[in-house]
């Protein structure tokens, strides 16, 4: 049997099928064969060459990641250098530190990125928006979909800031880990998923 590369999308809750579809389309675009798997339980993360933590509700995600035993597996994968993409709630989950809103709900963050995050940095749903963004890794603007989006307030010296909006860091990279405050999986633009695939394939 031929070994097929696996890319995992954490499927606890949220925009799971959207990321699975985007990854499949991005893989097809470059003619690479790989299996995209939805991860609900422990035991699958260690087999993956790349992990996506999608948007959803970060309190729900953090609680169930811990209850299901997936949280530890993601930390181990990150330490091994496996590329990880976190969008929206995923950006919160990856962070080392949260603001008082995060602390209030006693979420257990994974602490994979040296970042401090602000939950709902741009307000409630009525304040949610779309905007054209300059992202350092792309050569032309990207439509960012921000839904009750978080932001990175501050980060350590090893974190590369990729984009800012209204004083918040909204895209950042630290080695193998990429975090976005917005939802590339809700648009048809696959450039960020392709960038993530580059990381996996060059790993």
């Amino acid at each position: 049997m031929v070994f097929l590369m696996k890319i995992g999308v954490i499927a606890i809750q949220g925009a799971v099928s959207e990321h699975v579809d985007a990854l499949k389309r991005a893989l097809a675009e470059r003619g690479v064969e790989a299996e995209v798997v939805a991860i609900k339980h422990k035991g699958i993360v260690p087999e993956c060459s790349g992990i996506v933590i999608p948007g959803g509700e970060s309190t729900t995600l953090c609680r169930l990641l811990a209850r299901e035993g997936i949280a530890e597996e993601i930390k181990e994968a990150a330490a091994r250098g496996i590329p990880i993409l976190g969008t929206c709630a995923g950006l919160i989950v990856l962070a080392k530190e949260g603001n008082e809103q995060v602390a209030k709900t006693s979420q257990e963050l994974l602490g994979i990125m040296d970042t401090k995050v602000n939950r709902n940095a741009f307000g409630r749903q009525r304040d949610s928006f779309e905007a054209e963004l300059d992202v350092a890794i792309l050569d032309s603007p990207f439509t960012g979909v921000f839904i009750r989006a978080p932001g990175i307030v501050s980060c350590g010296p090893c974190v590369r800031v990729l984009s800012r909006l209204e004083g918040m860091i909204i895209a950042a990279e630290e080695g193998n880990v990429l975090a976005l405050a917005f939802h590339p999986e809700l648009t048809d633009d696959l450039r960020i998923h392709q960038y993530f695939l580059n990381k996996i394939l060059n790993c």
Binding site: Q13, E57, T60, Q125, E130, E132, V145, I147, R148
Partner: protein, 298 residues
């Protein structure tokens, strides 16, 4: 800040919010304390209400939007999204909820309808809406009015899941029946179910609703929630089922875990152990048609 560059309340933003709720449990709460229990259990959102549907049913009278004071307190208490109900057609109640900062408005048959002919024009709002439906025609009419999420009506406040099952299967069966139909046949269907032809054609092509479809109305146990997920629901609303249960904390946590493990009977068995009795409930068969909440809405 340059707000001119930011586009608020677009269809993508409204439907996107609804998508972020997928695979989650939305719980009815009437106090900040209950909201905290729901958040702690892992709910993706709470629905702020004056009284849970089981009590609305018991008390009778005109059921209206919740007291803004309570909704405000709940918003201030939790960090997860807060939804609230407005009466069918009562766009001012919806505007009040939007002004409070509610994240999604449920134009709900659980409250007494305010307009005997028309639902709210939801395209006029920045805040997204969820609406109930029993069949495909109803679902597509609501989407056409701007609903960003559909939920089955079921029969709220009963703890009897049969009507939610019926409505979910009805909608899915109607969608399956669209497959393979020619354009002229789809136009005929659109006329029969009183839905816009464009939405009928898009639904036929996608083989699912173009917005997320949640289960609601009678879900009372972890097994009920898992059943609705197995039937293809994108997520679950639990109304009276949590805070009318013997042990709301345990029931809330168990239902959240059941939705995450809906396809694993062994795990569901573990989850369902020792959580206390579910709400007593009433069998739908014993409710006279004129008291059925699902009949409200057009």
């Amino acid at each position: 800040m340059d707000f001119e560059k930011l586009r608020h309340g677009t269809e993508l933003i409204k439907r996107g919010f609804a998508r972020m709720q997928k695979g989650g449990v939305i719980m009815d709460v009437t106090t900040p304390e209950q909201a905290r229990i729901a958040e702690e259990a892992g709910a993706v959102a709470v629905m702020a209400l004056q009284a849970v549907p089981a009590d609305i049913r018991k008390e009778g009278g005109v059921a209206r939007m919740a007291d803004p004071e309570i909704v405000q307190q709940i918003i201030d208490t939790v960090t997860i999204p807060v939804m609230a109900k407005a009466r069918i057609g009562h766009f001012v109640e919806a505007e009040i909820m939007e002004a409070l900062g509610v994240d999604m408005v449920d134009e709900s048959e659980v409250l007494t309808p305010a307009d005997p002919f028309y639902h709210i024009d939801k395209t006029q709002f920045t805040v997204p809406f969820v609406c109930g439906a029993r069949n495909l025609g109803e679902a597509l009419r609501r989407i056409n009015e701007g609903a960003a999420m559909i939920r089955t009506k079921g029969e709220a406040g009963t703890g009897d899941v049969s009507q939610a099952v019926k409505h979910m299967k009805q909608i899915q069966g109607e969608i399956r029946a669209l497959a393979g139909k020619t354009k002229e046949e789809l136009i005929m269907v659109a006329r029969e179910i009183e839905a816009p032809i464009e939405l009928v054609m898009e639904t036929a092509k996608m083989q699912r609703l173009i917005v997320v479809n949640f289960a609601a109305g009678g879900v009372a146990t972890p097994a009920d929630a898992a059943l609705m997920m197995r039937l293809g629901a994108d997520g679950v609303f639990v109304g009276s089922g949590i805070f009318k249960a013997e042990n709301p904390e345990k029931m809330a946590k168990a239902i959240v875990e059941a939705v995450n493990n809906y396809d694993n009977p062994a795990k569901l068995a573990e989850i369902s152990k020792g959580i206390g009795a579910g709400m007593k409930g009433i069998s739908v068969d014993t409710i006279p048609v004129e008291e059925a909440l699902q009949e409200r809405g057009w």
